[in-house]
């Protein structure tokens, strides 16, 4: 290792320390959602004792105590602030996080391991909001999310349509000629099959595209690249060498924002779920209400609960404050079973 290599390693560790500190601050904000007091001197004392005892090698206890006193101070500062949290699936840099920023850039986005954790986070109050992908122009509906939506009592309070630009990311200084393996989410890999086969590259599935970017930055596997967002490239200090890699273009994902509370502001779109009895014409009867009231449906989705039994999702244009919509909802509820109004909200189209 020469001086340049050593400095590169130091830069790498510094960016990792920053990311880990950010993770710690996020946890502090989440902890605040579950406790009323910011001050907890017993917990602070226990934490400092443990760190003093466990400080390795070159880290002397006086130094680490100073560092941690500052970290705790900043955590408490943040806990006293008025932050709202939004959970998303994946690691920082995921497209879901980009969508959450587009919906409200002042929210603190918190990574979750999966969609059910996003729902759970909102339900338990750990997060104020959650954002989930419901459908994609190339991949179709996201089955797991739609199933969770049928069974939740959370409200839809917003929606975002986000164009997805899939980018090829490499470690800085990597030689493109050595790339053999591409890591990403199964959805992103499926959308780039033409690129992968033209260049004879091996696709390896990863739980999340941004998670693959994080892995590339931290483990630096030989001959590897990832497909992820530009935001992931910024966060993990990777280089974008190709943009818009998908097979067909026009790659757009629609996300819904969930909350425990119903949206109180005026919206322009509504979502409902319902089932129908197993008799001829019952679904027609529900849809007929919208046709007669001249209400435009924007999405009809169906999820099978058991063989032959379906739950339907309907999105339509209109506000639940319009007389026409109020009457339609009343009529639909009368001809369906398990009817639930999921919310009225504003839909944001990006780009």
């Amino acid at each position: 290792m020469d001086l340049k290599d050593i400095r590169k390693r130091i830069d790498f560790l510094d960016s990792k320390i920053l990311r880990i500190l950010n993770d710690r601050m996020e946890l502090a904000l989440m902890a605040k959602k579950l406790k009323t007091n910011v001050e907890d001197s017993d917990r602070e004392k226990a934490l400092l004792d443990r760190i003093r005892q466990n400080s390795p090698g070159l880290i002397n206890s006086e130094f680490i105590e100073k560092v941690y006193t500052e970290i705790i101070k900043e955590s408490k500062n943040l806990q006293m602030g008025d932050f709202s949290l939004i959970g998303f699936k994946g690691e920082h840099g995921a497209y879901d996080e980009i969508a959450s920023r587009e919906w409200d850039k002042d929210l603190i986005s918190i990574p979750c391991a999966g969609y059910s954790q996003v729902f759970e986070g909102v339900r338990t109050g750990l997060h104020d909001y959650g954002i989930v992908a419901v459908e994609n122009t190339l991949g179709g509906i996201v089955g797991e999310v739609n199933e969770l939506l049928v069974n939740t009592d959370l409200y839809v309070v917003g929606a975002v349509e986000l164009p997805i630009s899939l980018c090829l990311l490499v470690l800085s200084g990597a030689d493109h000629r050595e790339i053999r393996t591409i890591y990403s989410s199964s959805q992103a890999l499926a959308q780039c099959t033409n690129f992968l086969s033209r260049n004879n590259l091996e696709a390896v599935q990863y739980y999340d595209s941004a998670g693959a970017a994080k892995m590339l930055a931290e483990e630096m596997p030989q001959g590897a690249a990832v497909i992820a967002s530009k935001l992931a490239a910024e966060i993990y200090d990777l280089h974008v060498i190709k943009e818009d890699m998908d097979n067909f273009g026009n790659n757009v994902t629609r996300f819904l924002v969930l909350s425990k509370e119903e949206n109180k502001e005026e919206g322009d779109k509504c979502s409902i779920v319902f089932s129908t009895e197993h008799r001829a014409g019952t679904l027609f009867n529900a849809l007929e209400v919208f046709a007669r009231k001249n209400i435009n449906l924007t999405r009809i989705g169906s999820i099978r609960s058991s063989m032959g039994d379906y739950t339907f999702f309907l999105d339509f244009i209109g506000s639940n404050r319009d007389e026409n919509v109020i009457a339609a909802l009343r009529d639909v509820e009368a001809v369906t079973v398990n009817f639930r109004f999921m919310g009225c909200y504003k839909e944001r189209k990006v780009g």
Binding site: H176, R177, F195, R198, N199, N200, V240, I241, K242, E243
Partner: protein
């Protein structure tokens, strides 16, 4: 010329190869490819691309991988250069031609540009020719600086034999004893190619002469000789070019040349119809 199974006219009725690149049709009408020798920066490439588009160029050229006589000269920006070319294409809608040097880069270069160029030094690099022959991108094949017409056509044959029918030949000057010009531009090869092959033929007067003052007269002469197009180097600021600065036209010189070429093209169409 007996082994030229795919590139020769073979005595039949003259069917000329016509190559569509986006909105441009090569082999029908006169096509002008212009741009910097190398992609040096995003600003320089975009500025030059806008200028050549404004003056009426049909396609953009620019080198990302540069074959330089000295290993210590600027070697090009590589993938970064390809990304800049892609951006210039997005903005100007001009299709892009760039040189590929290494068989390992062929599939990557295809991801960013519209036409692959094989440079004079690589004309007989058969493994590279086979590799570009396997792609679906048109190939602009420069004439080797010491090569006969037959050797050149045999190299085009390599590309066609791999299944890629879209080859554009490009005369760029050959070595002679004269040192006044960088090379000797062999314009007589233009009608000669038309006699023996159906492939479109371009002329590169920038490398062919290496002299700023000779580029315009040789471009006009190329059109008069029946070439399907020219490829010229234009730099938004030739004095600061990292490569071939003294043979790069300024945008103003290029624009004035384009006016004359347009006039000549009208006259020549009349003459060719006689």
């Amino acid at each position: 010329m007996k082994n030229l199974r795919l590139t020769a006219l073979n005595g039949g009725p003259p069917r000329r190869t016509v190559i569509r690149v986006g909105e441009v049709t090569i082999g029908e009408g006169f096509t002008v490819i212009a741009g910097p020798c190398s992609v040096e920066s995003e600003a320089q490439t975009l500025e030059t691309a806008r200028a050549v588009k404004e003056a009426g160029a049909h396609m953009l050229r620019g080198g990302a991988f540069k074959p330089r006589s000295s290993p210590y000269s600027f070697q090009g920006l590589g993938i970064k250069g390809l990304q800049i070319l892609e951006k210039a294409k997005k903005e100007t809608c001009l299709p892009v031609v760039t040189e590929v040097l290494d068989p390992r880069d062929v599939s990557w270069v295809c991801e960013y540009v519209d036409v692959l160029q094989i440079g004079t030094r690589n004309m007989q690099n058969y493994s590279l020719l086979k590799e570009v022959g396997k792609t679906d991108k048109p190939v602009l094949l420069k004439r080797g600086m010491y090569s006969t017409l037959e050797e050149w056509l045999n190299c085009a044959e390599y590309i066609l034999a791999e299944g890629n029918p879209n080859v554009i030949l490009c005369e760029r000057g050959i070595r002679s004893f004269d040192t006044y010009t960088r090379n000797t531009l062999d314009l007589s090869v233009v009608p000669a190619v038309k006699e023996v092959s159906h492939l479109p033929i371009f002329v590169d007067p920038s490398h062919g002469t290496g002299k700023l003052t000779l580029i315009e007269p040789m471009s006009l002469a190329a059109r008069a000789a029946g070439a399907d197009g020219i490829m010229v180097e234009v730099h938004c600021n030739p004095a600061e070019a990292l490569c071939d600065g003294d043979q790069s036209l300024s945008p103003a010189m290029f624009a004035s040349m384009m006016v004359k070429l347009t006039h000549l093209d009208i006259c020549m169409k009349e003459i060719e119809g006689m």
